[in-house]
């Protein structure tokens, strides 16, 4: 479904992503793990066409993201790390707008909002919402078009425990629908619970790319996923 080949992204002399290659199969849940600045966000943004790769190709369902951006993006719903909506707009106006971009009717947009638990809040401006509600609104926006691919950049970073649980339920629902999902996270337990495979990013490179079970079996028969993570990332990264 998604093929990233030799992706390299440089910002001047700094290499944010260095020759990264991987494939994600249809219906797979794929987690990006890694410390801050390791290249997770840049890779996600490259897949959705927000970052332009210095080298490499990205195919989404066989479509080159650079050459056919609109068709490729039509298959993707992307949730940025810090989702923000214009604060004077109401939840209903936000969802209807993003729905209209994807040719989704107002009725369907309103239904999605109601199903997401925004009854009584749909006509309130976004600036009255908590961080968790905004994130939930973001989830509603990205689930609205029923895109086959979901890209989520640290979706639980601003959520309270209840929000985290709602996110997990959301991912499991989408997985059950056969969606291909890539998400980045710092929460190792989250990756362990939800992902089929994990890519561990270290300083712009892929340190590991395997299923969690395989990694455990190979490296840490009795260890935790935290031990595994530190095995790849190492303490040297943090000392830098």
């Amino acid at each position: 479904m998604i093929s990233v080949q030799h992706l390299t992204k440089q910002y001047g002399k700094f290499t944010a992503v260095n020759d990264v290659s991987f494939d994600v199969k249809q219906g797979e849940v794929f987690a990006f793990l890694g410390p801050n600045g390791s290249g997770k966000t840049t890779t996600l943004k490259s897949i959705v066409g927000l970052c332009l790769p210095t080298h490499g190709t990205i195919l989404v369902n066989g479509l080159d993201v650079r050459k056919r951006p609109k068709e490729a993006k039509n298959l993707i719903s992307y949730l940025p790390q810090r989702v923000i909506f214009p604060e004077t707009l109401t939840a209903s106006e936000v969802v209807r707008f993003y729905g209209s971009i994807r040719n989704i009717s107002r009725v369907a947009a309103d239904e999605a909002l109601a199903n997401a638990g925004f009854n009584g809040f749909s006509d309130k401006p976004v600036n009255e919402f908590s961080g968790g509600m905004i994130q939930r609104l973001g989830m509603t926006v990205i689930s609205l078009p029923d895109s086959p691919i979901l890209l989520l950049d640290e979706p639980t970073a601003n959520l309270d425990p209840q929000g985290v649980k709602q996110f997990r339920d959301f991912i499991l629902q989408q997985k059950a629908k056969g969606k291909t999902i890539i998400f980045s996270t710092h929460l190792l337990a989250e990756a362990e619970q939800l992902a089929d495979r994990v890519a561990i990013f270290v300083s712009g490179k892929l340190g590991a790319l395997e299923s969690i079970d395989d990694l455990r079996t190979t490296f840490l028969k009795t260890g935790t996923i935290e031990d595994l993570y530190l095995h790849y990332v190492g303490s040297s990264h943090y000392e830098k």
């Binding site: 943004k45 056919r68 993006k73 707008f97």
Partner: protein, 279 residues
């Protein structure tokens, strides 16, 4: 394959309009502009007893200075604000199945419509006040003056977009926008006059004539004064223009065409830059 979708552009423009008409700065601008414009027309009526009837053309000439100072500043600020806004909003919008050029055009149109609305309210109220006293004489010139003011707003809006697309950092983009305002509104004429003093006769006239097309503020000033039949208070550049072109009709056409180029060229450059940069 890369044909732009007009419907998508319209939807983005409508959303941008909605966001901007609720923006407190747009509301403040609309109120301040409206009060000043209406104030000028009212003062014109009060002065009627002293200096004769202040009809549309005379009041418009008074409004012109206000427009030339305020409209470029507000357009630059609003354009910069919109195009260097929150990264989270921008990323979500550009990740949708839209071309970057569609987002660019949609946002520019939405911003322009919100500016138009803010300005037109003031102009309409002022027009009502003037016509209630003086009748409809000069109404057509007044309407053309309003159109020129809106063109000026659009020019500086796209200049702001160009500044924002070449500068990722908001503070830097604002700094350059303010410099652009100082340059076009205050310094440009001084520089041109200074340069023209170094030359004599026909050469100086040619410099003055050509310099006119390097500054949209001057173009709107001269075009407005031609429309309002105020040729006597022309600056040197305007006088040179009329001498070179030999008539008002051709001058207006040339100035309007040049203003349109000032809209198209920054937009085309912004589009190219936007297509080559990370969001």
């Amino acid at each position: 394959m890369n044909t732009m979708n007009l419907l998508l552009i319209t939807r983005i423009a409508r959303q941008e309009l909605l966001v901007n008409i609720r923006n407190k700065w747009t509301i403040i601008f609309a109120v301040v502009f409206g009060v000043l414009i209406v104030g000028i027309s009212y003062i014109g009526i009060v002065a009627e007893g002293f200096s004769g009837m202040q009809n549309f053309t005379r009041t418009s000439a008074s409004m012109l200075n206000l427009v030339l100072y305020i409209v470029p500043l507000v357009s630059l600020i609003m354009g910069t604000l919109s195009f260097t806004g929150d990264r989270g909003t921008t990323e979500l919008l550009f990740s949708q199945p839209v071309f970057r050029a569609e987002v660019l055009l949609g946002k520019v149109l939405g911003l322009f419509f919100s500016l138009t609305l803010s300005m037109v309210i003031g102009f309409v109220v002022a027009g009502g006040i003037i016509s209630s006293v003086t009748g409809g004489e000069g109404l057509l010139q007044y309407a053309m003056f309003v159109i020129l003011s809106l063109l000026l707003a659009l020019v500086f809006l796209v200049v702001a977009v160009l500044i924002a697309t070449t500068n990722n950092r908001t503070s830097r983009a604002f700094g350059i926008s303010l410099f652009a305002w100082f340059f076009f509104v205050l310094f440009y004429d001084l520089i041109v006059l200074g340069v023209s003093l170094l030359f004599k006769g026909q050469t100086a006239n040619i410099i003055l004539f050509l310099s006119l097309f390097g500054n949209p503020v001057d173009m709107v000033r001269v075009a407005s004064l031609i429309i309002l039949d105020n040729v006597t208070i022309f600056g040197a550049a305007g006088a040179a223009l009329l001498r070179f072109l030999g008539g008002s009709g051709l001058s207006i056409t040339l100035l309007t065409g040049s203003l349109l180029l000032w809209i198209v060229i920054p937009l085309v450059i912004s589009r190219r830059l936007l297509n080559k940069q990370d969001i």
